[in-house]
């Protein structure tokens, strides 16, 4: 059980490190907006040319009724 005298302080150091990282992330605005960045992965790499008909997709549109 003596190992606990080493492990617990070690664990506390890790917690402190985690907290430090969290503080840094909060301070740099990482948590200011938790919703919209998730959408960026859905973006197409290239915007389709304006007003050009898309290849016809027959899948039912989500916007439908």
């Amino acid at each position: 059980m003596e190992i606990l005298y080493v492990m617990i302080p070690l664990g506390l150091v890790l917690v402190a490190l985690g907290l430090w990282a969290f503080f840094w992330a909060t301070g740099s605005g990482q948590f200011d907006d938790l919703d919209s960045p998730g959408w960026t992965v859905l973006e197409d790499d290239e915007a389709p040319p304006p007003d050009e008909p898309q290849p016809q997709d027959d899948a039912p549109r989500e916007q439908g009724r």
């Binding site: 917690v15 948590f31 200011d32 907006d33 919703d35 919209s36 304006p50 916007q63 009724r65």
Partner: protein, 825 residues
């Protein structure tokens, strides 16, 4: 409802029957409800942002009218922009913009993409939680006005915020609270871990040295939790005490500090029990509840934002015959302003020149525009609908009618009957009894055995104080807040949930709350040889030259495609003109039919003056009547359901409106509301509310407009509509983000369930404490049993509260609202 079954592709509102407008989106024709929505949808698609329609999870805000690029002309002038915005490195400028209509993450994606595509935009960050965007741009490459136009084109109406210190402060406050919450969370987990060997050690034996070690380590971790994470509570308690009042923070702080100090004492002396786990758990849960509440409050916004939305930041001043764009704050009494059609007055004034019609609905709730001939007064925040007006400023800043309403608002808030205080009083009462009891225990033990007096007293304090009792309310409220948020009901003040459970009456605003708040062409019926589409186009072409408020309904819905000539306005009857060689009339039935016989038509009642709130307008030519249009401010389809649902819960409804008696009576009849009062000023509404409250009623007020804001502030529970004015939202306890009245009865039910859960929790906690208190006072409770009992008691309370977030399954909506029910009565 005379609307076709299909909702608008863009905004999801029902498309008026007989109307066919298509927007070309991603190579398809999609049906939309008006030309505003068509313009927005096509712009979005044309800019390659059509994905927005796939990702959004709520329908967009209806584009009331096609974008008006000239609205932002003032923001094209560099010297004005320089004063309104802040300097950034390398000559860039930055500004924070409030985005009206930003409702989901997809909207913020849209705003971000649309702006980032612009040349010269250096950085954009959009925060959907607060509906704000921060723009950094290079003024040498792009004008601020152009960026604002882009935002308007994608359907998000921008409101530039000058200075914006409040926004920056709110951001820092959120970050600060998040850090404190993180410390409490991490600390809580660690201390729980160290608590396990202590509990089990108490049962099965533990090396005393290891026990000492665990206790000291727990203390080490708890210090930042109690001091750093708990700091906001102490600060709040200190402020309350200095103001000679007791807030919830006082017993909370006392509980935390007493348990913490007692535990530190015991840990250092090596005697008695430590309760670091209870302390950190308590701080964490309370902090969590406060954090959720703060996010909702920030989202609801501040009064400063509301004023920014209402009163424009710029004005056009006439000086020595020339006009110049100036900041609204530079205006003085006696200045002369030029206010064009569609613009909002920047100050109160008197009309000097021009024959205007002004939309004062935000001040009075009246849905019909008010004529403003020279010599009449106009007010800050109202909108000029028609001809350009020259106005002499009579009041600015604090002297305007609008700021008077804001002042009324602040007073009503101060006088608000705070039922919530009851909870505080109960806590204070309980606390004083415990302190009293502890003192007695100490005194008695002092006579029996002085050496055991202190431990026994501490046992009393700790066993009763920082446990299930304190968690009973915050956990239930946090769970209910989360459950409501999933249903599209935002809770800006959590104790409103408790008050809502006790509510006995509902006061409704009419325009914009029970109705949609916008006069529109509800039905087009062809009577002659032409299609209804054609009829609408012709009517719109004629009406676009009219200054009549009804004309707005046409130009919003119809397409002013062809040019009308020889247009003549017949006051009170309608408008006549020539389109493609055909003489046409739009107006009252007699007037429109009058062309046929060439007789001078006698004037029927003015269509706009029809008090029923629903009016009929006809189109005719020389061959007779061609089409009939029904105009109305449509009732929300779910309003009847909602009123009935509330009545079933024991909440009778009443309408207090600033509108015409006829229109109010019609809506009251269709929703099944008995009590209604019309033509009320904000002050009158507040009076009505006060007389109800004096009779002992607990009143819920539902409203959307500025004229409702004092009513909302004074009500026991205030509910605002998500698209309503910002001023109404700042006064609100709950905000219906999706504007679905259906959620109201469900919200009341949930509030009552919450109340029940709180009672169960309190009953359990008090019962446990009452059982444990005497045992602890006699020194009979073994420490490990007290600790386990306390933790179990807390777990029971938390689990019971969590029942609230289950059950009411979130109703996910895809892009469209449910098909509008056909029921109308």
């Amino acid at each position: 409802m005379s609307a076709s079954g299909h909702p608008c592709f863009h905004c999801g509102e029902p498309i008026p029957r007989g109307l066919v407008i298509h927007a070309r989106v991603a190579g398809r024709d999609e049906a939309v409800c008006c030309y505003g929505c068509k313009a927005v949808a096509e712009f979005i698609s044309g800019a390659g942002l059509g994905d927005y329609y796939r990702y959004r999870d709520t329908a967009s805000t209806r584009a009331d009218e096609p974008p008006r690029p000239d609205r932002w002309a003032a923001y094209d002038r560099p010297e004005l922009v320089e004063r309104l915005t802040r300097a950034e490195p390398d000559g860039a400028r930055s500004i924070t913009v409030l985005l009206e209509g930003l409702r989901c993450a997809a909207c913020s994606w849209l705003a971000n993409k649309a702006l980032s595509q612009q040349n010269g935009v250096l950085d954009v960050s959009v925060n959907p939680a607060t509906a704000r965007a921060r723009l950094v741009w290079d003024p040498a490459r792009v004008r601020l006005g152009d960026l604002l136009r882009v935002l308007e084109h994608v359907g998000l109406r921008p409101h530039p915020l000058a200075g914006e210190p409040s926004e920056q402060m709110a951001l820092l406050e959120r970050r600060d609270a998040l850090k404190r919450l993180a410390v409490a969370g991490f600390g809580n987990m660690q201390v729980m871990m160290f608590a396990v060997p202590l509990y089990f050690g108490a049962v099965s034996g533990i090396d005393p040295q290891m026990r000492e070690y665990m206790r000291l380590v727990s203390m080490l971790v708890s210090v930042p939790v109690a001091l750093y994470s708990g700091w906001p509570f102490y600060r709040g308690a200190w402020h309350a005490l200095r103001a000679r009042s007791i807030s919830m923070d006082v017993p909370v702080s006392l509980g935390i500090l007493l348990a913490f100090v007692a535990s530190v004492w015991n840990a250092l002396t090596g005697h008695g029990e430590v309760y670091f786990d209870s302390v950190s758990m308590f701080v964490f849960f309370l902090g969590l509840g406060r954090y959720v509440e703060m996010i909702a409050r920030h989202r609801a916004g501040s009064v400063a934002d509301a004023l920014a939305r209402l009163a424009p930041m710029t004005a056009r001043r006439v000086r020595a015959g020339a006009t110049e764009d100036v900041q609204a704050v530079e205006l003085g009494v006696g200045d002369e302003l030029l206010v064009r059609a569609g613009e909002v007055f920047a100050a109160d004034g008197v009309v000097l020149e021009g024959d205007g019609r002004v939309d004062e609905s935000m001040l009075t709730g009246e849905s019909v525009a008010v004529p403003k001939p020279p010599g009449t007064a106009v007010h800050q925040g109202t909108q000029n609908l028609a001809a350009p007006l020259r106005v002499r400023v009579t009041a600015v800043a604090g002297g305007t009618v609008l700021s008077g309403i804001v002042a009324l608002l602040e007073r009503a808030q101060a006088e608000r009957p705070r039922l919530a205080r009851a909870a505080d009083r109960a806590a204070a009462w309980f606390l004083s009894r415990i302190l009293f009891g502890a003192a007695i225990v100490y005194a008695l033990w002092w006579f029996v055995d002085p050496s055991r007096a202190f431990p026994a007293t501490l046992a009393v304090l700790v066993v009763t104080c920082p446990c299930a009792l304190s968690l009973a309310t915050p956990t239930a409220l946090a769970a209910a807040t989360a459950a409501l948020a999933r249903r599209g009901v935002l809770v800006a003040r959590t104790d409103a949930i408790e008050t809502l459970a006790k509510a006995t009456r509902v006061l409704w605003d009419k325009t914009g709350t029970l109705t949609r708040g916008l006069v529109r062409v509800e039905d087009v019926r062809s009577l002659g040889a032409i299609s209804s589409q054609q009829a609408l186009e012709w009517a719109a072409s004629l009406e676009q030259l009219s200054e009549h408020p009804i004309a707005r309904a046409f130009t919003v819905t119809g397409a002013p495609t062809v040019r009308a000539s020889d247009v003549e306005v017949h006051a009170g009857r309608g408008i006549e003109g020539r389109i493609e060689g055909r003489r046409l009339r739009v107006g009252t039935r007699a007037f429109a039919a009058g062309l046929q016989s060439q007789a001078t038509a006698d004037a029927g009642p003015d269509a706009a003056g029809d008090e029923s709130g629903e009016s009929r307008v006809y189109l005719g030519d020389e061959s007779g009547l061609l089409a009939a249009f029904t105009l109305s401010d449509p009732l929300r389809p779910e309003a009847g359901h909602c009123v009935a649902g509330l009545a079933a819960l024991g909440l009778p409804s009443e309408i207090v409106s600033g509108d015409q008696p006829g229109a109010v009576a019609r809506i009251a009849a269709r929703t099944g509301i008995d009590g209604h009062a019309a033509r009320l000023s904000p002050q009158d509404k507040l009076e009505r509310l006060k007389s109800l409250q004096a009779g002992g009623a607990v009143v819920v007020a539902v409203g959307d407009g500025i004229n409702d804001a004092p009513l909302l502030r004074g009500a026991d529970v205030a509910i605002a509509m998500g698209r309503g004015s910002a001023l109404a939202q700042t006064s609100a306890d709950l905000i219906l983000v999706r504007e679905s009245l259906d959620e109201l009865p469900a919200t009341v039910s949930l509030a009552r369930r919450t109340q029940r859960v709180i009672r169960q929790n309190l009953g359990w906690a008090i019962g446990y404490n009452l059982a444990a208190l005497p045992l602890a006072a006699f020194g009979l409770v073994p420490p490990w049993l007290a600790a386990i009992g306390m933790s179990l008691s807390s777990v029971v309370v938390v689990l019971n509260a969590m029942r609230l977030s289950r059950g009411s399954a979130p109703r996910r909506r895809s892009g469209m609202p449910a098909t509008p029910q056909a029921e109308a009565a």
